[in-house]
């Protein structure tokens, strides 16, 4: 074991136990280690496979450099054991591809006589070790074990750093709902599963999506935010999927779409509930088949992206109403996260107000230190239909108007001082679908008109046939 890693791990675990987490290091079973062996000499390949298989690793072998290269494009390995000279593709190119897929993959280079210089160069470029042919079983076992251990420790360090270090500086708040959101983000940091974030406008859905991306293994790749409601369907399709040359008038050259450019990264689809049926089908293909077609293309392009989507609509209700595809809903909603409205976390308002005050005062180059009691009281009793975004705007405006080192009531918008703004919201615990509301409403109207269906259909603004169809469905379901 590398002594530096051991010391670092010990330090991190001490810090972690101070935070109340008593979880220890759990050795990774060798059966969960994926090993790729690449050698164009069949006998050497079989020998290595036998030795590593006995060690309990999941072994994949390849005798062709080209095939191994293709395999590394789509699959991650914990350790790659490769010959340096493989024909048209060499071990260094395989190493680059393996590390492109997963920077923590350890690569061991095997060399024949006379190619030691190349092996040393490979080590300089990031190979874990090199082995000279003929391979001695004890030596290869030992080197692979060290590589596995290094990878395990690197993973563990990352996990511990995430647990104790990053506390999501952009997600402000200590209320139980926000703490559980932060915990959920940490829990899913190792996962590649799609996430659906729900919550009212201005609750910080994009911030949460960015935090999920930042803690994931994709954090070094692109985070791409797309507002599905802001573009027309054609523009959205062109922006997301790109186009081939001559796909339409004016497409003088081929262009990669945003989804393609976010390969191995994360795509944030905001207001996903506003996507058209055609766009939903295209996105489903990306999610399901992990491939996309540029506009005007005849062949698909493979993409590896994680999709985080967000909406302030009730997607389940939209599915029930046939507006949103249920298969896409299930694919997007593997992990769901609901962000509370600001009125559900009023204990965080002073903290958030102080945070925005510091930011705005710095931007405005003003020395403002806090809020008067009256101003703080107004801020904490307001309903915030626009949530955190509205609070941020109120503070920014107050900073611009403030003449002293305290924000006073008169610096706040007049409606906060002059109006009571009673705000109420849908109860999130017992939300009804549109279908349920429709059913209840039809029953209520029928009751009001003495169960006269002609009268009821007039009140409902639908024809009698539609009313009968809806009633039939209700009876059938019941």
């Amino acid at each position: 074991m590398d002594i530096r890693y051991s010391i670092f791990i010990n330090k991190l675990e001490k810090q972690l136990s101070a935070y109340g987490d008593r979880e220890g290091i759990i050795p990774v079973p060798t059966a969960s280690i994926d090993l790729l062996i690449v050698d164009d000499e069949e006998i050497a390949l079989k020998n290595l496979e036998r030795i590593m298989h006995k060690e309990g690793y999941q072994v994949v072998t390849e005798s062709s450099g080209e095939r191994a290269f293709e395999l590394l494009k789509v699959r991650r390995f914990d350790v790659v054991l490769t010959d340096l000279l493989l024909g048209s593709i060499d071990g260094l190119e395989l190493m680059a591809e393996a590390k492109k897929k997963d920077a923590e993959t350890e690569v061991i280079i095997i060399t024949g006589h006379g190619s030691v210089d190349g092996a040393i160069e490979a080590t300089k470029k990031g190979a874990f070790h090199y082995l000279q042919k003929p391979i001695r079983p004890d030596e290869v076992r030992s080197i692979v074990r060290q590589a596995v251990e290094k990878r395990r420790l690197a993973r563990r360090v990352r996990d511990l750093e995430q647990k104790i270090g990053a506390d999501f500086p952009d997600i402000i708040g200590n209320c139980p709902k926000i703490v559980s959101i932060k915990n959920l983000i940490r829990q899913i940091s190792d996962s590649d599963a799609n996430v659906l974030i729900t919550g009212e406008s201005g609750t910080g859905k994009e911030l949460a999506a960015r935090a999920i991306h930042q803690t994931s293994r994709r954090h070094e790749k692109r985070f791409l935010a797309v507002n599905c409601a802001s573009l027309t369907e054609e523009l959205l399709a062109n922006e997301l999927f790109g186009h081939e040359k001559d796909a339409y008038t004016g497409a003088t050259q081929a262009k990669a779409g945003l989804l393609e450019s976010a390969h191995e990264g994360t795509v944030f689809l905001d207001e996903v509930g506003d996507m058209s049926a055609a766009m939903q089908a295209k996105i489903l293909r990306v999610v399901q088949e992990k491939e996309l077609m540029r506009v005007g293309a005849t062949t698909a392009i493979a993409v590896d992206i994680r999709i985080i989507s967000a909406t302030n609509k009730d997607l389940k209700a939209l599915c029930a109403a046939g507006i949103f595809r249920q298969d896409l809903y299930f694919r997007l909603n593997v992990i769901s996260m609901h962000l509370p409205s600001l009125s559900e976390r009023i204990e965080d308002i002073p903290l958030l107000a102080a945070f925005f005050l510091k930011q705005s005062a710095k931007r405005a180059e003003k020395d403002i230190r806090g809020f008067s009691d009256q101003a703080l009281s107004l801020l904490t009793t307001y309903g915030y239909p626009g949530n955190i975004r509205e609070l941020e705007n109120i503070i920014e405006r107050a900073v611009a108007l403030a003449k002293t080192e305290l924000i006073k009531a008169e610096d706040l918008p007049h409606d906060l001082k002059d109006f009571h703004a009673f705000t109420f919201r849908r109860r999130t615990g017992n939300m009804k679908t549109l279908e349920e509301i429709e059913r209840e409403y039809i029953q209520w109207v029928l009751g009001q008109v003495g169960h006269n269906k002609s009268e009821a259909s007039k009140v409902l603004g639908i024809d009698r046939v539609s009313l009968y169809r809806k009633l039939k469905r209700t009876v059938f379901e019941e």
């Binding site: 009212e200 994009e206 302030n312 705007n393 001082k417 703004a421 009673f422 109420f424 009140v459």
Partner: protein
């Protein structure tokens, strides 16, 4: 990224509380979004539309004078179904400001039996009812 796109100010039966317009304007300005004013009238049009249109135009002028984009509409018929139809066809509002009878929604609760209180809890956005504070 624009968060709040549209705020709906909702009136019924020609009753308009000025504070709801003033609050809608403030909220719209604060959130950088446009306003949509909807008047729901019980029954059929019966030639009274010009009266209600002029009432609504006055509200729109006030909003326009403040430099905020606004659109308006009057719907006749059953208020609940007209309101639900309005929500179903247009872009969903990010907040609804209730602008008529202040007693419908108060700090203590909602007026039982009123059509809006039955549906308001099921709309997917915050519903605000502004009233003037007593000095």
């Amino acid at each position: 990224m624009v968060e709040l796109k549209k705020i709906l100010i909702l009136f019924e039966d020609g009753k308009i509380r000025k504070e709801s317009i003033a609050y809608g304007i403030e909220l719209g300005r604060r959130m950088d979004c446009s306003l949509c004013v909807l008047m729901l009238m019980e029954g059929t049009e019966k030639g009274n539309s010009s009266i209600w249109e002029s009432v609504l135009n006055g509200a729109i002028k006030t909003i326009d004078d403040e430099g905020i984009g606004a659109e308006c509409g009057i719907r006749y018929g059953d208020k609940t179904s007209e309101f639900l139809k309005f929500l179903a066809v247009g872009p969903y509002p990010s907040a609804i400001v209730w602008g008529s009878n202040a007693g419908v929604i108060t700090e203590r609760g909602r007026k039982p039996g009123h059509w809006f209180t039955r549906v308001a809890e099921n709309v997917g956005c915050p519903v605000v009812s502004p009233t003037i504070k007593k000095k």
